[in-house]
């Protein structure tokens, strides 16, 4: 009977104790083999280049090169090494970022040995594995509310600036605007200059054109 090919695992964590514990767990498993250890991000990248392990178990908070960056470099297209994150952070953005950078699995440091081994085997086989609490909680909070990226710069004007823009587009001079809003002409002029700077408008013509496009005034 031919022994199946062993899974070669590399460890990257700046905590000696963590690496020690993981090594003990791995050594008990006949289908696992330790390919090497690294205590910082740069060493981890070098180790992977050199040893081409099947799986890199990586912490996010690494000195010298951030774990997220290590994952990005290790998991570039065409590389066989899979990354399994073992982190203290259970916050969704870290999980999402790690996965986006190419990680195949994400474990929390309080997981037990069995889950660790399960995850290693799944990842080595080309599947994904998320720690139970992450999988259960799902990532809905983050996924459902990732924010909108279609922000319009017009919306970031202050209320006053929007009012001044409207009046300026309607053709009122700064002095008239000031009188209408009960502010000093200088203040009105400042609002006008600020909003033009924010909207990157360089002239009254551009201001009017912008306002027409925006539907503030009808041509």
């Amino acid at each position: 009977m031919t022994s199946p090919k062993k899974i070669r695992v590399a460890l990257a964590d700046d905590h000696h104790i963590v690496r020690e514990g993981l090594r003990l767990v791995l050594e008990r498993e006949p289908d696992m083999e330790l390919a090497g250890e690294a205590a910082d991000g740069l060493a981890a990248v070098e180790l992977v280049e050199r040893e081409q392990p099947d799986v890199l178990v990586v912490d996010l908070m690494l000195p010298r090169l951030h774990g997220l960056e290590v994952i990005k470099q290790v998991c570039r297209a065409g590389r066989k090494t899979k990354a399994l994150v073992l982190s203290m952070h259970s916050d969704e953005p870290f999980v999402m970022e790690a996965l986006r950078n190419g990680a195949s699995g994400y474990l929390l440091k309080d997981c037990d040995g069995d889950e660790f081994l399960r995850a290693l085997r799944a990842v080595a086989a080309g599947r994904r594995h998320l720690a139970a609490p992450l999988a259960e909680r799902a990532l809905d909070g983050y996924i459902e509310h990732p924010g909108r990226t279609n922000l319009d710069v017009y919306d970031t004007l202050t209320n006053r600036e929007r009012t001044v823009l409207q009046l300026a587009a309607e053709g009122f001079s700064s002095a008239k605007i000031a009188a209408k809003l009960f502010i000093s002409p200088r203040t009105a002029e400042t609002h006008r200059a600020n909003l033009m700077r924010k909207l990157k408008l360089n002239s009254q013509t551009e201001l009017v054109r912008f306002s027409i496009r925006k539907g503030l005034i009808t041509p």
């Binding site: 905590h15 104790i17 963590v18 514990g21 996010l60 908070m61 951030h66 997220l68 203290m88 952070h89 916050d91 969704e92 953005p93 870290f94 970022e97 440091k109 309080d110 037990d112 909070g141 983050y142 509310h145 990732p146 924010g147 909108r148 990226t149 279609n150 922000l151 710069v153 919306d155 970031t156 202050t158 209320n159 006053r160 600020n194 924010k198």
Partner: protein, 549 residues
Amino acid sequence: MNTGKERILVVDDNTISRIALSETLRVNGFDVDECDCGTGCREYLRRHHPDLILLDVNLPDANGMDLCREFKADERLSAVFIGLISASQITPDDQADGLNLGADAYITRPVPAYELIARVKALLRIQKAEQALRDANEELEHKVAARTADLAAANHALQEEIQERRIAENAQKRLALRLGALHALDQAILQSTSTRQISEASLDCLHELSPAESLQVWRLDSETNRIECLAHRGAPKITIESRPIDEKLRTIFEHLAQAPRLEIPNETHPFVTGSERIWETLHLFPLKAREALLGAIVVARDHVAEDDELAGGGEEIAGTLSIALSQSQLFDEVTIGRSRMRELSRRMLQVQEEERRYLSRELHDEIGQNLTGIKSLLESGIRETGATEKLNKALAIVNELMSQVRRLSIDLRPQMLDDLGLTKALSWQFGRLREQAGLDVDFQHNNPEARLPADFEIALFRIAQEALTNVIRHSGSLKATVRLWIETDRCRLQIHDTGNGFDARSRLGEFRTAGLTGMIERAELLGGELLIESGDGNGTCLTVDLPLT
């Protein structure tokens, strides 16, 4: 004796004919004097002034023709008419000769009485007319002369007035020039922000008023006994920043402390070392404030124009500059103090954030890691020896501790911010607020991958945190919109709720709400501004605008 009648002198040496003539004339109402020779005639004419002389051509001591010529040449007698009379020389040639000599008539004897009278009357008419003409002429000439004199006087007065006016105009022009210069100086002082700018403006004004080859403003530091050139115009180029004063300068400053100005002729520039150039005049104006000597304006010239404004203008400008300098020194001190304070605040915030970041990492990575280790131990203990109440309790405590440490670490400084950037950290923070406080945040942004300098990210993150805490506590609304706009040269964060709103100014002014002033300070330290709009029933809108330079 003047009787009002015409007076006629009859000159004839022949007694009979003389009396006949005289009597005829007297009978006809003339005053007649008689004379029998040339000498007597001359004698008579020296004292009298007849209207007409009837002169016999043949006299024993003189020729009537010569006498006639003589009298006509006499200016004094020019108005006296002369009629020549002769019984012997009566040819037309004689008559023509007599008339050509200047005689007014030539009467030949014998002549009938009526003809004589008629001719005498005619002569006198002419004589009167001529006299009247002469008088009129004379009067006219008098009048012309008087008029000319009047005109000359008027002209003179006019010239004087013009001259006076010109002087007044010049004075006014100089005054206007000086006022203009001082006004320009005032304007320059209002717009200037540093003592150097103000000093330069003063020199420009002074130069405008009275051009000079070399002008400087020197500041005296009486504590260190050093002078420093604040501004210079013209030669020589001043390169030294500051130097100690020598004996010569000490004497000059002692004089200046007592006088409104000092004038030194034919001297080298005492403030500039190594210059051998001799100046025609050096003018020094002291700069004083509250009796203390601050420095001096020094003007060196080789040419002095007329109507020179330097003395008066210089004193006035020195006065204005003194006030401006002493004020601007205070202003400089305040500005320096403020920028020092700002720098201190910035460093304090930096140190605080650094410390928080360190503590946060320490808590999360070290203590958290150890707690995880303990947790694993406890769990494996439970697996191997079975759960006991104490082990379960210990496990529960460790779990609680772990979440406390995690919360504490995040509150101190979210690692997310440093690792993933502002947009993602904010997005995650809003998720937490939703879970913890039920706040519904609509987060809009334009550039989620952009990274800002660390102090900008932390400032914006803290401001958002603080603002949303305010929304939860004070607005009475659990809805907010957050907009984050990042472009290459600016970034802007806006937190808008639809709650109660408040009067930002009264909050700031009366309560000095620590959160608000802290937010404003963070924005200002980064060279930006924070604006709060509220109180129009449209909730509260807080906008931070930061330049990214």
